[in-house]
Symmetry: C7
Subunit: 105 residues, 7 copies
Amino acid sequence: MTDRLPIKMLHDRVLVRETREEGERRSSGGILIPSTAQVSKRLVWAEVLAVGSHVRAVETGDRVLFSPDDRFEVEIAGDDYMLLRERDLHAVAAERNDANTGLYL
Amino acid sequence: MTDRLPIKMLHDRVLVRETREEGERRSSGGILIPSTAQVSKRLVWAEVLAVGSHVRAVETGDRVLFSPDDRFEVEIAGDDYMLLRERDLHAVAAERNDANTGLYL
Amino acid sequence: MTDRLPIKMLHDRVLVRETREEGERRSSGGILIPSTAQVSKRLVWAEVLAVGSHVRAVETGDRVLFSPDDRFEVEIAGDDYMLLRERDLHAVAAERNDANTGLYL
Amino acid sequence: MTDRLPIKMLHDRVLVRETREEGERRSSGGILIPSTAQVSKRLVWAEVLAVGSHVRAVETGDRVLFSPDDRFEVEIAGDDYMLLRERDLHAVAAERNDANTGLYL
Amino acid sequence: MTDRLPIKMLHDRVLVRETREEGERRSSGGILIPSTAQVSKRLVWAEVLAVGSHVRAVETGDRVLFSPDDRFEVEIAGDDYMLLRERDLHAVAAERNDANTGLYL
Amino acid sequence: MTDRLPIKMLHDRVLVRETREEGERRSSGGILIPSTAQVSKRLVWAEVLAVGSHVRAVETGDRVLFSPDDRFEVEIAGDDYMLLRERDLHAVAAERNDANTGLYL
Amino acid sequence: MTDRLPIKMLHDRVLVRETREEGERRSSGGILIPSTAQVSKRLVWAEVLAVGSHVRAVETGDRVLFSPDDRFEVEIAGDDYMLLRERDLHAVAAERNDANTGLYL
């Protein structure tokens, strides 16, 4: 395999990574997998690292809100990442957003 | 993570919060999860805090009626919120509505 | 919460209430929940109180025929109501209908 | 409730009633409910009493062939009827049909 | 019920009857119902007696190939028939077909 | 039944036959049915004998690659054949194909 | 069967092969099949050998990221390959990609 092939997301895929704050709060590597369907309705935040060409509403650097059930996991160069589809994202936190909701991450 | 990123709902998502009245009546934090499918057909009200750009029929400040089965949960700054999709909302209570149904919340 | 917010049905939703006659005949509050799938194929009548803006074929005051399986339940100001979607209604009884079927409710 | 509200079928619904002949042959009131999925593939005939405004291929007075699995049941003025959707009807027997199949009911 | 109402198939329905040859080979009335899902993948032939107005590719008198799982059964005037949908037919054997496949029934 | 009716595939159906090589290698008549869902993900090759009029990408004489789960079985004149749909074919091996993949059957 | 028929992927299919690096790291032939649904959310990389004519976003020689659940397996000339559909690919690693994500395989 050629060394160092740049990676690009396909279609509507969004690559995200757990943020430091989330990680420290839970003090364990990786997302906690809920043990029941009911509990898995709790959404989590992660930071966007790359998006496919069909993705419209989020950008690299944004924080996005999603259900752990909708994620795929991948290890790249020894680090853990997650893959989502844009349609499964519920909200986005970003500096460019208007502050009119009064809600901040 | 940057401090205080404004949060925006995506697409057809609606962020709601249990109203004080609902909370006091039940005297417990969080929605009661029905134990059977049959019972879960009972709808509940909550207050709209933010809506995605595709949402047409409800606004911030409205009360909306929904099935607890259709909600996702998220904690923001220590408070509990719920996320819904507009298509899963059954009714809306708002001052701007005509009073012709004779039904009030 | 503001007092007395008028309630409006959304989209294709239809708010109905059990009619007095149905109630007296069964002599118990609330619809009887069939214990098996087979039995639940028996349809029931209720009176329309409000309809969403997409509803085309029924009006407030009509009686509509539906399967108890398709209903949601909601309590408003201490009274029990049911919520349906127009596509789940099988028939309508109303004064404005032609009497050509020879069937009356 | 107002006395004697005329009843109209909605959309693609078809109201049918078991014919006398079917009833006498089986000598019991109501359709026999097959005990297994396999057996329930046997179709039955009934007479059309009313059709919704979307129904195209059958008329009041026709006999229609359907699977008992696809029916809903309703009691009107003490008599038992069945409700079907046009798409679930397999065949129609009517005087207006050409006799070119050589099959008669 | 009126005597002798001609029967017409609706929409995409196809009425078929087991051919004599099939019947003799199996020496029993009615199609053998496979006991497992796997076995039920074996297709069978029957003769077309009537087709609905949406049917395009087969005609009365053709032999058609289908899965027993896709059939409904009906008794007309004491004889057993089967009802299929055109989309569930896999192949047709007819004199009008070109013989270029080299396969004959 | 008329003798020797030519058989034609309908719509998107593809009639295939196990090739001699496949048969000899396995030394048993008929495709081995995998015992678990996981194993059934292994694809097999067969030779195309006839195609329906909607089939675009394969021709009589081609070898096609498919999952045994997607096949139906039929016996014609004492020989065993399989029926597939074009959309369930994964690859085709034919002399007319460019050799640019470097893969040969 | 004719010797050496060139193989072509159909429609949206993508033929891939486990890369040497992946193989060495795991030191066993074939992809490890996860024992639970949860675990199977971990994505893996493989090298593209051939693509169908509908495939738009990946080319022969690319590395693609996919879920082992979405693969079919096939043996060609004694070697093991996998078949995927383009829509099931999450990301692509290739020299032609911009390096703006800062992620490399």
